[in-house]
């Protein structure tokens, strides 16, 4: 019997599946509230993105950076409130996998842009290449 008590006591440390609903605590209302907070935050960030794009509130050349910041924030909201990712020990595996995914995505996108910008800078424009082949 005591073994089972130990197991349930350490149950708080058990691994969680990603996206797991935890309703054992305060029930359905608590779960719905989490999604509502996520919905309001995500809608607010989306509205801010569309607003920033048009309003001229932000200095023109800085608009792409602002859009990226808002998008990253919204992805964070989705991960926390919709996919229930936390920094707790029961989520370590899920967060580590996500961190590796983010690393690869950053390398692929950042690396491609970097290399192609360098090629653009260092090589003849395509129109000149075509002219030379004539």
């Amino acid at each position: 019997m005591s073994e089972f008590h130990d197991a349930s006591a350490s149950g708080a440390e058990a691994d969680l599946a990603p996206g797991e609903e935890q309703l054992d605590g305060s029930g359905v209302a608590h779960g719905v509230r989490g999604y509502l907070i996520g919905l309001v935050l995500a809608a607010g960030l989306t509205a801010a993105s569309f607003y920033v794009c048009f309003s001229g509130l932000i200095y023109g050349p800085a608009v792409p950076a602002a859009l990226v910041a808002l998008a990253v924030a919204q992805m964070g909201v989705h991960l926390v409130f919709f996919l229930h990712l936390t920094t707790g020990p029961d989520n370590t595996n899920n967060v580590l996998a996500l961190a590796f995914g983010v690393l690869i995505v950053t390398l692929v996108i950042g690396g491609s842009l970097w290399i192609m910008a360098n090629l653009d800078h260092n090589m003849l424009p395509m129109t000149r290449v075509v002219e030379m082949q004539r």
Binding site: F4, A7, S10, G11, E13, A14, D15, L16, A17, P18, G19, E20, E21, L23, G27, V28, G31, V32, Y35, G38, L39, A42, A43, T46, S49, F50, C53, G60, V63, P64, L67, V68, L70, A71, Q74, M75, H78, L79, F82, L83, P89, D90, T92, N93, N94, A97, L98, F100, G101, I104, V105, V108, I109, G111, S112, L113, M116
Partner: protein, 217 residues
Amino acid sequence: MTAAHPVDSDSIVQMGLEGGAAPGRGTGGPASKRVYVGYGFWIFILSDMVMFSAFFAAYAVLADATAGGPSGRQLFDLTNVAWETACLLLSSFACGLASIAAASRNALWFHIAMAVTFVLGAAFLGLELKEFAGLAAAGDGPQRSAFLSAFFTLVGCHGLHITAGLLWLLTMMAQVAAKGFRADIMRRILCFTLFWHALDIIWVAIFTVVYLMGKTP
């Protein structure tokens, strides 16, 4: 009796070997099947995002390669995009409510929430197909320029994921109706909600990188 009693199925369940909660991380035996099925699907979703990152990279590199054709600034209709975004965000929210209903074993609310998820997802898909059809009809299909090829590949790939997700959603509704909230069905519902929320995350990247950045001067 006390020396070596056989392990009965109840104690296996209580020890967490079948759907219960084993401590994991090497203590107390393997994690429950629900945990490693969800984790495996999480790995799939992340690899899917790596695939999308290649399409994003291609689009970002080719966004200016319009070959004398129209650019995103002339083509994109942000009102349409705003409606698409609203549909998909609300669909993701409804999907979350469906997973709460499943967790509390409420079949009626599960079906209602999943039906709302489906209708909103289908509305998103309809708006996207309308945009694609409009572009193709105006001669601005994927064959027009490298920019449009990359655009149709990236956004179309997301649309294909949504289509597959809608079919999966209907399958889950049918399975819950026919088989109830069995442990294996619950694992599939978990994987489906992961998939649907992940598609909304990818859409956030699409409306930011493709549409909003395409429209900013």
